[in-house]
């Protein structure tokens, strides 16, 4: 049996992974897709492991996707959200995690509104930590499932042209896409109102398209980001209608693409704002395939990280 290269203790960013490590996760996700098609959707790979899903920010898709991944690997799981837990009483992140560790957990999946929270936690506890989205920083498993979905459809990543459309400024999905896809040799561009593109984004090696029409001419696929509606109040865009008119991904716009063009969206969608319904539900859409692949990618990550699981039989050198 060949031993796979290790992923290390945690998955915090795609920025810090090598192309080989990203490929390892994608290749490991392949056989896990089949597990979800079985009559009994369960394998004993993580039997006896305890995983805590620590969600300090609202999430439906990501949290449920992680929970399915955990359960289909036979792990025991607990999900905690910030409301209804001692977090709302003012307990710090580290105290929460240390208390959980004192109950001998093996892994933490964390979603947090602050960029860097997952790394902060990973450096302070012995359990494996998986970043399920930290502020505006990264959302590595979303990036991985996007890449897997693109690879499934196009059969390759190298040389593929993907344009991220919309609110790149506030998007951790955008950052994970850019890092992951660039490492695997894809070309990445961004398109959106100037107010929603980070200054100096070109330094990450991406092209900027001010007009969606030009992006559609160039791209093999668009990753359409959710326009966070609160951005309108903060003055980033004049109105939702205006945004849809200038940047909305519609069937008419896609029809002018020179070749095949596919559309991804990390969800939840604002239909009629950043994406029209006939695109979301039409032949260009890979959106539900992304959701299916999300479970497989997360199973792969949990499986690989469990190889570097904490050994509770060895007393820790320092309990920090």
């Amino acid at each position: 049996m060949t031993a796979a290269p290790s992923l290390g203790k945690d998955l915090i960013t795609l920025e810090e992974l090598s192309a080989d490590q990203i490929r390892l996760i994608l290749d490991t996700a392949e056989p896990f897709k089949e597990v979800s098609e079985r009559p009994i959707k369960k394998t004993p790979a993580l039997r006896g492991k305890t995983i805590v899903n620590l969600f300090f920010e609202d999430s439906t898709r990501t949290r449920i996707s992680f929970e399915f991944a955990e359960k289909r690997l036979s792990a025991d799981t607990v999900s905690i959200s910030s409301s209804g837990s001692s977090v709302s009483k003012g307990e710090t992140l580290v105290d929460t995690a240390r208390n959980l560790e004192a109950m001998r957990i093996d892994m933490v999946v964390i979603r947090h509104p602050n960029s860097g929270a997952a790394r902060f936690l990973a450096d302070r506890i012995r359990s494996n930590v998986v970043n399920a989205g930290d502020g505006k920083h990264e959302h590595p498993t979303q990036g991985l499932l996007d890449i897997l979905t693109l690879r499934d459809h196009f059969g390759r990543i190298e040389g593929l042209k993907l344009c991220i459309v919309g609110d790149v400024l506030h998007s951790r999905v955008a950052r994970s896409n850019i890092w992951g896809l660039r490492k695997l040799g894809a070309e990445v561009a961004v398109c959106g109102p100037k107010t929603l593109l980070p200054r100096g984004i070109e330094e990450l090696g991406v092209t900027v398209f001010p007009r969606i029409e030009d992006a559609i001419q160039w791209a093999d696929a668009l990753n359409v980001l959710r326009l966070q509606l609160e951005r309108m109040q903060s003055g980033f865009i004049p109105s939702l209608r205006e945004y849809n008119r200038v940047f909305g991904v519609s069937r008419e716009r896609l029809a002018r693409a020179p070749g095949e063009i596919m559309v991804l969206h990390p969800g939840p969608m604002n239909r009629g704002v950043e994406i029209d319904s006939d695109v979301a539900d039409g032949p260009h859409s890979l959106i539900l395939k992304q959701v299916t692949n999300g479970v497989a990618v997360r199973m792969a990550v949990l499986y690989l990280l469990a190889g570097g699981a904490p050994d509770w039989r060895v007393p820790a050198g320092d309990e920090r």
Partner: protein
């Protein structure tokens, strides 16, 4: 240098497979509802060969499946970096079928224990048979093969190297024994 002894050459391996295919048919009521399940890696190729031989004599092909038992290994907690997981593909319904597990080498029996557990998650076959090319002894679990190509007594440090032309360019089975230090 390890000492290599050839246990089966291409002709002997072919002969063994012919006999094994005939036994599979004899023990599976003529091959109706028969599913040959190859264990990743080389069990998959051997199952395909047996299926070809059975099709030639019976006129209808048996169903083929492949099984990767990595996620069911009993040492998964003990080993460090995760082993690579291979493809599993089985017919959607195993209820009432006769499953023949095909593997290259039967040794401790732990792989077959894992395979039995995994198959149970796919359905309830009417019967499960075990068919191996080489039985090298050394069992650690109460598991025996029903159909065997060849039996070879081995020592714990030995390695039985099964080579199939699809993957390795030739058909051969060698016994590799560590040389005297």
């Amino acid at each position: 240098m390890p000492l290599a002894t050839r246990l089966l050459d291409a002709a002997a391996l072919s002969h063994a497979l012919d006999r094994m295919a005939a036994e599979v048919v004899a023990r599976s009521e003529g091959g109706q509802g028969l599913v040959l399940v190859g264990i990743q890696r080389r069990g998959v190729e051997l199952a395909e060969r047996l299926a070809g031989l059975i099709t030639a004599t019976q006129g209808h092909p048996p169903t083929l499946g492949k099984l990767d038992i990595t996620l069911y290994r009993d040492d998964l907690q003990a080993i460090g970096p995760r082993p690579v997981v291979g493809e599993t593909s089985l017919p959607p319904d195993l209820d009432g079928t006769i499953v023949v597990i095909v593997d290259d080498v039967l040794y401790t029996g732990r792989t077959i224990r894992a395979a039995l557990d995994e198959l149970a998650d796919f359905g309830r076959p009417r019967r499960i048979l075990l068919c191996v090319l080489v039985d090298r002894g050394g069992r650690e679990l109460p598991i025996q093969a029903d159909i065997v190509g060849t039996v070879v007594p081995t020592e714990p440090g030995d390695h039985v190297n099964v080579r199939v032309s699809e993957l390795d360019g030739e058909d051969a089975v060698d016994l590799l024994r560590p040389g005297a230090a």
